[in-house]
């Protein structure tokens, strides 16, 4: 168009509003604490421990998703069967469940009133108030993201490559290791990062299952409740920086792939 119409300018203004709405609070928060405060916060053992616990539990959730989700994602990408949509819906369920409810639901089966809870208890596995519990909850909320990302990745790989591999004598296992997985590694990474990003930002489900040991969002909440906004901000800044680096990695990985396809 030689000239921009009024429609464009209205849309443009809306865009500026939305970007301001999103960026202003985040930028203000990131710039509010002084450098000294940020450095000081990093010397607080509790802060370091909680951020590490957040990273560790989120990474564990991603690891579990990788082990159990990868074959399932492959199956969903390759098979067509009745009820497939239903199964995909079930996998997406954790996305819509309110966060404290996720925690309550998991405690419901992990408690001593439930056969599964008793079974776990016998093996010495404790969910409530334990790192195991946090990982369980984060896996629950993060896994759908991993499976959906990887499923799309597998779907983008031509089944013909696998067919040729098998016609050359390779078993399905061998084909998966030599052809499918090497071609899907980028989707695997994208899925893992999405799973991490989702689970590291979780609060409501974790706070129900395990207030202690404290992951970073819980610590931030505690400091906010106990000491007010100012005191919680430095920890929040560090956690957001971790999240943003995950997010950046995701963007860098995801974008080139889009260009190719």
């Amino acid at each position: 168009m030689g000239r921009k119409g009024s429609f464009f300018w209205v849309s443009f203004s809306c865009g500026i509003m939305v970007l301001t709405f999103i960026l202003l609070p985040l930028v203000e928060m990131l710039t509010a604490p002084s450098g000294a405060m940020l450095r000081e916060t990093l010397q607080d053992r509790n802060v370091i421990r909680s951020i590490w616990l957040s990273i560790y539990t989120a990474a564990s959730a991603a690891g579990i998703s990788f082990l159990v989700g990868t074959p399932l994602a492959y199956l969903l990408a390759r098979s067509q069967f009745r009820g497939k949509h239903l199964i995909e819906s079930v996998i997406d369920l954790p996305i819509v469940i309110p966060h404290p409810v996720v925690g309550i639901a998991i405690l419901g089966v992990a408690g001593k009133n439930h056969w599964l809870g008793q079974y776990l208890h016998e093996f010495g596995i404790r969910i409530m108030g334990s790192t195991t519990g946090i990982i369980t909850v984060l896996t629950f909320v993060g896994m759908p993201f991993y499976i959906n990302a990887l499923k799309a990745g597998f779907e983008a790989i031509s089944p013909r490559l696998e067919n040729v591999s098998r016609s050359l004598g390779a078993s399905m296992w061998s084909t998966f290791v030599r052809v499918t997985f090497p071609l899907a590694w980028r989707s695997v990474l994208v899925g893992l990062i999405m799973c991490c990003a989702r689970s590291i930002s979780e609060f409501g489900a974790v706070v129900v299952v395990a207030y202690h040991p404290m992951i970073a969002p819980v610590l931030i909440y505690e400091r906010y409740e106990g000491y007010g906004l100012q005191y919680s901000q430095p920890v929040a800044v560090w956690l957001v920086l971790v999240c943003l680096s995950l997010f950046l990695a995701l963007r860098l990985l995801a974008l080139p792939q889009k260009k190719v396809s």
Partner: protein, 345 residues
Amino acid sequence: MIDIRNLNVHLGEFRLRDVSLSIDPGEFFVLMGPTGAGKTVLLEAVAGLVPVLGGNIFIGGRDVTRMLPEERGIGIMYQDYALFPHLRIVRNIKYGLRYHRLDKETAQKRFGRLVDDLGIGHLLKRYPETLSGGELQRVALARALMVEPGIILLDEPLSALDQNFREEIRLLLKKINRSSHITFFMVTHDFSEALTLATKAAIMCEGAIAQTGSIRDLFSKPASTFVASFVGMKNVFSAQFNGNQACVDSLTIEVPQPHHHSTGYIAVRPEDIVISLQRFESSIRNAFPGMICGMIDQGFLYEVHIRVRAVVFKSLVTKGAAIDLALDIGAGVHISFKASAVHVF
């Protein structure tokens, strides 16, 4: 070599219905048919890549219907070549080696021979994405031949190539088929491709085999109106027969031999119908005056539709000839064709 008996497959919208085919060892068998006829599904059923609902597939006398694809020893080549994009050409070609017990020397010798024969020595260190269509095709062929399968399935191997490469790959396939004992089973939707390659062929229509036989037979003696129009006999009419004469509507057409039924079909290729402005005085027995009712542009040719009473004949004319004869819709012309050009079935 390949013996397919009453094969039934349901796969999404495609279905194969009671397909039976028999392919001799060393044959170059071509399966033709329009898009959506189920040709690729049949190919993949032979390779074990789609679930079979009923029927059996025998290869060299062995029932392979329930075998896994990797146990069948059948090579497959797709139209998009399906080279492994993350492996260099040399690793692509040698991909299958580790699944076949082969001493190193034999393998290396075979590799060297294939690379020489196919002229791909200069590509070995490159990745597939940097190769041209013709090069990809030759590498895919080398990869399949490397494990010496008894059968190679080809899924429209030439359709993604441009014309110059097609000829080259076609000659290559012919040469390999003649010099080896490998049976080729190729799928195409292009009749003219089969003409140059096939020793035997079948035509498929909506999941079933419409006709099978030598390529000459399919071309000159189609058994049904579907086959007739598929092999390019655009003029297919139902007719009443009376000795050496066929009645199509109110037209009487001379045919080469009497038909054993009183009703049936006649077919004439469009290139066998000659258009002229005046009536020919010649030995040609079938000559009719008519009017042009349509001209369809086909690149270098026009497909001209000529209405003779109620019957529309289709004829092919070069652009130059159309301009010389000033052919246009509404013009009156004469058409003629030899009795021997009429196929009766």
